[in-house]
């Protein structure tokens, strides 16, 4: 097995608020191998974005890592000083967000902002920086890159802005690209272009991608491996091939069944009753048990661990094997 690029081990994160400290991520463990695309999927408030921010050490003043380790290329990110972190961010780890408009400076041209990245991380200035900036814009599929380099962010469409963000994130050929809802603000025909670009970059540069999204369709087409997050915990970790055909956690299975598809007329949708609880109100025992049609007495009291099911997957459900044996969809009918 190849060396791990990123190892997240028992990572916990808490935020300080008016009513004390609230844990928002509990003991998350996962790894990413070089060139691998790992998807994190979950609903809003599940803690999926917090994982990305914690890895980048961008939790802000109110947030803190309260436990665990993050090792990137063998180094513990938690032990790095601000200067080392700044060189790590951008140079070794790139990041793109949902809304490029808020990440780009509105009063500077995109070419200037690209050259700024090249100067800071690679020491490229002048004509060399200008040339490289144009190359990068062209690499991410921007037609007429010389003209576009002179454009301000608001003069570009959402799809083009996201391409610029990817060009900036890829300027230093990072080993890891963290993409948090990169296509959520885009129309579907443009989303397809951006996803294809990310796939192409993984293929040509070998950059691993941590792709965070609420969209199961995007994850299915992009990820090699998928982490499903619910109420601050990873509840399932599986290769994409098995996760979507035979989910091993009731939450994953219900979430998939609740998505109406344009491929056929769906009848009544199975419903996950209730809503995702806020971090201060996570239930005891299994955090999904109040909404779970399979919950039994131990689910209400004992917090389940991740259970290894076979070489490819883990599930945080004590009834995972039963769930896998039940292929007839009785779970969805119960709900």
């Amino acid at each position: 097995m190849s060396a791990k690029l990123l190892e997240v081990d028992e990572l916990s994160v808490a935020f300080r608020g008016l009513r004390g400290t609230t844990e928002v991520l509990s003991r998350a463990s996962f790894t990413i191998e070089p060139g691998e695309i790992v998807g994190i999927v979950g609903e809003s408030g599940s803690g999926k974005s917090v994982m990305a921010l914690a890895i980048m050490r961008l939790l802000g003043a109110a947030g803190a890592i309260t436990g665990g380790h993050i090792r990137f290329e063998g180094r513990d990110l938690a032990s790095l000083g601000e200067a080392e972190l700044n060189s790590m961010r951008g140079r070794r780890i790139g990041m793109i967000f949902q809304e490029p408009m808020t990440s780009l400076n509105p009063i500077l041209t995109v070419g200037y902002q690209l050259r700024e990245v090249l100067a800071r991380h690679l020491g490229l200035t002048g004509a060399a920086a200008r040339k490289r900036a144009i190359e990068l814009l062209s690499e991410v599929g921007i037609a007429a890159p010389v003209e576009r380099a002179g454009a301000y962010p608001h003069q570009l469409s959402g799809g083009l802005r996201q391409r610029v963000m990817i060009a900036m994130a890829m300027a230093c050929r990072p080993k890891l690209l963290i993409a948090d809802e990169p296509t959520t603000a885009l129309d579907v025909t443009i989303q397809a272009q951006i996803l294809e670009l990310m796939r192409r970059i993984r293929g040509s540069v070998g950059t691993a991608i941590l792709l965070i999204t609420h969209d199961m369709g995007v994850i299915a087409r992009m990820a090699d491996r998928v982490l499903v997050v619910y109420a601050g915990q990873i509840v399932e970790d599986a290769a994409a091939g098995v996760l979507f055909s035979r989910p091993a956690h009731p939450y994953t299975r219900l979430l998939l069944a609740a998505m109406p598809t344009p491929r056929r007329k769906t009848d009544r949708l199975p419903v996950i009753s209730g809503t995702l609880p806020a971090p201060s109100r996570w239930p005891r025992g299994c955090r999904f048990h109040p909404r779970c049609p399979m919950a039994i007495a131990p689910c209400r009291t004992a917090p389940p661990d991740m259970i290894a099911l076979d070489g490819e997957r883990q599930s945080r459900c004590i009834r995972a094997s039963e769930l896998l044996a039940d292929a007839g969809g009785s779970l969805e009918q119960v709900s």
């Binding site: 609903e43 809003s44 469409s157 799809g159 083009l160 129309d187 579907v188 025909t189 443009i190 989303q191 397809a192 272009q193 996803l195 294809e196 796939r199 609420h214 969209d215 199961m216 369709g217 995007v218 994850i219 299915a220 087409r221 992009m222 994409a240 091939g241 979507f244 219900l254 979430l255 998939l256 609740a258 998505m259 109406p260 598809t261 344009p262 491929r263 056929r264 007329k265 769906t266 009544r268 949708l269 199975p270 419903v271 996950i272 809503t275 995702l276």
Partner: protein, 318 residues
């Protein structure tokens, strides 16, 4: 077939776009859109951002007036009806919008929000209270919700409040503009089930506007597809999704990703053009895989496609 509840006739809406330098420009947000909506029917409207679907909704709701064309509702021409004469019709014409946070008054209790349309109709207090209890039950909110404020509720519950308010006056038509788009999948399923239950129970018509094809197929009986202000295809749900005739409809369907691992569909080339400078001829021709010279020069009309139930705006329908 019964008389349509609503007809849109050649609706067109222009906006003026001011520029820092130079004369202001005209943006044609909706162009020549016609359709009919029948009692108890759900018509889905799909398209990407900027296709004019929300402007269409605002014209139907008479929040704005069309530049050209007419809207008939319950047999009356409401296109330029003054607000005073429009008011009695408003009870039959309700709306649910995308963001239940900005569409519910944060300073009003939920009970007052839901009752407001009834107050405007002069319904007495006792009858309102009775109807409120009924509505809370219908949309699945607890009885004590009435005394609380919107911020105390989750996004899905707020959308239930918006739906209860829309239902209060027993309308004939509810326009839903991206009504489930800000909701998570599990909550979206709850709201979709609620909408189909309500439709069956009260025979209300829905104009359901969304960019989500799965959601539209789930609810709609017929579906209209818009691109850059024009309606490019309208057909019964099964026909539109099984046999799309317009190349744009086919491209939209191909780009909708199912939660099934596999290769990415080949992306449609190019950007959605600016509605300020739409392409000549067929608006879709620069991105269309089957475009020919004629598509650049001549705008196709929306026409019935022989041997099908679809109307298609394409010179070379598939």
């Amino acid at each position: 077939m019964s008389e349509p509840l609503l007809t849109a006739e050649r609706l067109t809406r222009d906006f003026r776009v001011d520029r820092e330098r130079g004369p202001s420009r005209r943006l044609r947000a909706v162009e020549d859109v016609s359709f009919a909506l029948f009692p108890g029917e759900t018509l889905g409207v799909v398209g990407e951002s900027g296709c004019g679907k929300s402007t269409l909704a605002r014209m139907i709701l008479r929040l704005i007036e069309p530049s050209v064309g007419a809207v008939h509702f319950l047999g009356q021409d409401i296109t330029h009806l003054p607000e005073q004469k429009l008011r009695p019709l408003r009870r039959d014409l309700q709306a649910v919008f995308q963001d239940p946070i900005s569409s519910l008054n944060p300073r009003m209790r939920v009970g007052d929000i839901i009752e407001e349309p009834l107050v405007n109709l002069g319904v007495r207090r006792a009858a309102r209270r009775e109807r409120l209890a009924e509505l809370l039950d219908v949309v699945g909110l607890p009885g004590d919700a009435a005394g609380r404020y919107p911020h105390a509720f989750s996004g899905g519950q707020r959308q239930r409040i918006a739906i209860a308010r829309a239902l209060a006056a027993r309308p004939k038509l509810i326009v839903c503009d991206e009504a489930t788009s800000s909701l998570d999948v599990s909550v979206q399923a709850q709201i979709l089930n609620l909408l189909s239950d309500l439709q069956q129970r009260f025979a209300v018509s829905l104009l359901f506007i969304s960019h989500n094809l799965g959601v539209v197929r789930h609810l709609a009986h017929r579906v209209a597809v818009m691109y850059l202000g024009r309606l490019v295809e309208i057909a019964p749900e099964a026909e539109l999704f099984e046999h799309p005739h317009h190349p744009y409809t086919a491209a939209l369907l191909a780009a909708a990703l199912e939660p099934v691992p596999g290769a990415l569909p080949p992306p449609l080339p190019g950007e959605v053009p600016s509605p300020i400078e739409p392409p000549s001829g067929c608006h879709f021709h620069p991105r269309c895989p089957s475009a020919q010279a004629r598509c650049r020069d001549e705008a196709p009309q929306l026409r019935p496609l022989p041997g099908s139930a679809a109307l298609v705006r394409c010179h070379f329908p598939g």
